[in-house]
């Protein structure tokens, strides 16, 4: 296997990742975004695991210990990426759990889980917040000052 064929596995991982990334960006539904984020991460896992493969290799478990008669001397696949990805899988499910908890809370607070609707509500909130905090012009300013003046 040479040339493009030699690295085709890497290309499929890119494809999977990009399907996920597309979902994250394009889908307004928060649940969809969370799932797509998972797909995106799985793509990376595929990349790592592909990295571990060795021609003719097998799972990196030293079977000779279990069965002394069997003398398999390798090659073994590289265990390091496997270890890293075990960690990454756990991380991704943890992120998913927190994301879903947030989404449930959002549903409670906003009544919807569509990003565009939430964004519209947030913008309205933000505008109200801005106006509430605005210091108005000098007119009522002078009023206040004169009140203060009389106290003094």
């Amino acid at each position: 296997m040479t040339g493009a064929l030699g690295i085709y596995n890497y290309w499929i991982y890119v494809l999977l990742m990009m399907i996920g990334l597309y979902g994250v960006i394009a889908k307004p539904n928060l649940i969809k975004q969370a799932i797509a984020l998972g797909l995106f991460q799985t793509g990376i896992f595929l990349y790592y695991i592909s990295m571990a493969v060795v021609d003719g290799g097998t799972a990196p478990v030293w079977t000779t210990i279990l069965d002394g008669a069997q003398k398999y001397e390798g090659p073994y696949d590289n265990p390091l990426p496997h270890v890293l990805i075990l960690t990454a899988i756990v991380v991704s499910v943890s992120v998913l759990a927190v994301a879903l908890a947030l989404i449930i809370n959002i549903k409670r607070a906003y009544g919807t889980i569509e990003y565009d609707e939430i964004e519209a509500m947030d913008q309205a909130d933000k505008r109200a917040d801005y106006q509430r905090g605005q210091v108005t012009d000098a007119a009522d300013d002078v009023e206040h000052r004169q009140e203060g003046h009389h106290h003094a």
């Binding site: 012009d137 000098a138 300013d141 002078v142 000052r145 004169q146 203060g148 003046h149 003094a152």
Partner: protein, 524 residues
């Protein structure tokens, strides 16, 4: 590293700081608070005055070169906050500390007379501003100078914005904006560039810090010229046109603040810094040799004339005074820009002379406002008869501005004319003559009005003052424009003192001239 020490210059710095602390603690008891203010001011004058003999001594410059600077703190590795006394700074510190006492007395009368709010904050910031001025005056290197220059901007900001009205806030914004923009964009860049060119040596010394860099070619004449421009426009407080706009804007502040700004601290700090930079950072000889300073004469000359013309058309008294200040500041700058030893003496002397005259004028303006609530010149008909002391003092101040004997203004103008003769600068001569005429043209009519025009009978003028730019909100306090006499006694005492000092300066100017001559003798 931070050092603690109590030698006189440091003491002079700590006294107003301590004063500020005590004033804020005494804030609840106005009498105690103001007593603390006066005591602090007295103590400061005593300490600063005590340092003068050493500076006037014959062997001062010999010991100056050897004496180490007083180190306060190592701000950056190798960059110290340090103080060192020299004649110019001594002169400035003396002016500031002596006028602070008078200004404090005046403030007490003014602030109480006008029922101003937040008086404690006012006195605290005032003391802090004086501390900054002392630090500025005794700064031992460029970095320290910059630190206190900025500190002065900050501590005077609350004074300018004191009234808290929309207009005061707007004007204070202009004040802060122009001063900070110029200092951050130009002065700081200039200082950092200086630091880079001199390998971190920013200590003030007669003859300047650039000699080595110029000698080994790392600094060329065009770059030196750019640096000079950065400094001159970076020092926004010197109000060189076109960065003078903050000065009229700051007129919105209570009058003692205007007096402080114009006579004691801020603008004086500006021209003082200009002088200090020319003498101790660049060195007049270097500037002459590389020919990078001559443009300043023309800019300053233009500033003098244009500002005077603008002043001619101002009806608001404080605003007219403000433009007068812009023009007078450029006297100092033009004198310094002549770059001869005599002209530098003249510049130093004019800092002092203008201080006494201008503070008298502002005190008079504030006195009129407190007693009569008048702010416009057109309202002043016949006021000289009701307020003889005030308008008498005003007249003395005006004479000093014009430069007539027997007032302070004459002394410095005399030196300036001598320097003009010596350096053969006809342009400066023309400027001085023209501006003297203009000065007379915008001050004498006021005196004439006050003493020789009869007072209008039913004077509603103060109502129309609401549309005057700096008009305050009329009479909340039951004053009626028609029946008023002199202002409260602290005001009258203070302005009489400054007026007398303006005259006394003409007769007894040994101290100031001595310090200015000492400065000259230090030039290489």
């Amino acid at each position: 590293m931070i050092h603690f020490d109590v030698s006189p210059p440091l003491l002079a710095l700590y006294i107003p700081l301590l004063g500020a602390l005590l004033i804020s603690l005494a804030g609840r008891w106005p009498n105690l608070r103001e007593l603390v203010t006066l005591l602090t001011a007295g103590a400061l004058l005593w300490v600063v005055g005590g340092m003068a003999p050493a500076v006037l001594a014959d062997d001062f410059w010999a010991s100056f070169a050897k004496a180490p600077a007083l180190k306060l703190a190592e701000v950056l590795p190798g960059v110290w906050l340090e103080l060192k006394v020299e004649p110019l700074g001594m002169l400035f510190a003396l002016i500031a500390s002596s006028l602070w006492i008078l200004n404090s007395i005046y403030s007490i009368g003014y602030m109480r007379g006008n029922h101003e709010k937040n008086q404690t904050r006012f006195y605290v910031c005032f003391a802090l501003a004086i501390a900054s001025v002392i630090g500025l005056a005794f700064a031992g290197n460029l970095f320290t100078l910059f630190v206190f220059y900025e500190a002065l901007t900050l501590t005077t900001y609350p004074l300018v914005a004191h009234k808290g009205s929309a207009e005061a806030i707007r004007s204070a914004r202009t004040y802060l904006g122009i001063l900070v923009v110029t200092s951050v964009c130009f002065l700081l860049s200039g200082i950092i560039a200086t630091y880079a060119f001199t390998d971190g040596d920013m200590t003030f010394r007669p003859g300047g810090v650039f000699r080595r860099a110029l000698a080994d070619g790392s600094l060329t004449a065009p770059t030196l010229g750019i640096l000079f421009v950065l400094y001159m426009y970076g020092i926004g407080k010197a109000a060189l046109m076109p960065v003078h706009r903050w000065l009229p804007a700051a007129m919105v502040a209570p009058t003692p603040v205007s007096a402080l700004l114009h006579a004691v601290a801020v603008v004086k700090a500006g021209v003082f810094t200009v002088l200090k930079v020319i003498v101790y950072v660049f060195g007049p000889a270097v500037l002459v040799r590389y020919g990078v300073g001559s443009w300043l004469i023309y800019v300053a000359g233009a500033t003098i004339l244009i500002a005077s013309c603008i002043a001619l058309f101002q009806d608001n008294l404080k605003r007219r005074l403000a433009y007068s200040t812009v023009s007078q500041l450029s006297y100092v700058i033009i004198a310094a820009a002549l770059l001869s030893p005599l002209s530098i003496t003249a510049a130093a002397l004019h800092i002092a002379a203008h201080a006494f005259g201008k503070i008298t004028l502002f005190f008079a303006a504030g006195s009129i406002y407190t007693a009569a609530h008048k702010t416009e010149i057109s309202q002043l008909d016949g006021i000289g008869r009701r307020m003889p002391f005030t308008m008498g003092a005003f007249t003395i101040g005006a004479l000093s501005m014009i430069g007539l004997p027997p007032t302070a203004g004459f002394v410095s103008k005399w030196y300036l004319l001598q320097a003009t003769w010596e350096t053969d600068a006809p342009f400066v001569l023309v400027v001085v003559v023209l501006s003297t005429l203009l000065n007379a043209a915008y001050f004498l009519p006021i005196v004439y009005r006050a003493f020789f025009v009869a007072e209008a009978k039913h004077d509603d003028a103060h109502h129309s003052s609401a549309d005057g730019h700096f008009g305050d909100d009329g009479d909340h306090h039951g004053h009626h424009a028609g029946d008023h006499g002199e202002a409260p006694w602290p005001i009258v005492v203070a302005l009489s003192c400054t007026a007398l000092a303006t005259i006394a300066f003409f007769f007894y100017s040994d101290l100031a001239i001595g310090l200015a001559n000492q400065l000259r003798s230090g030039l290489p």
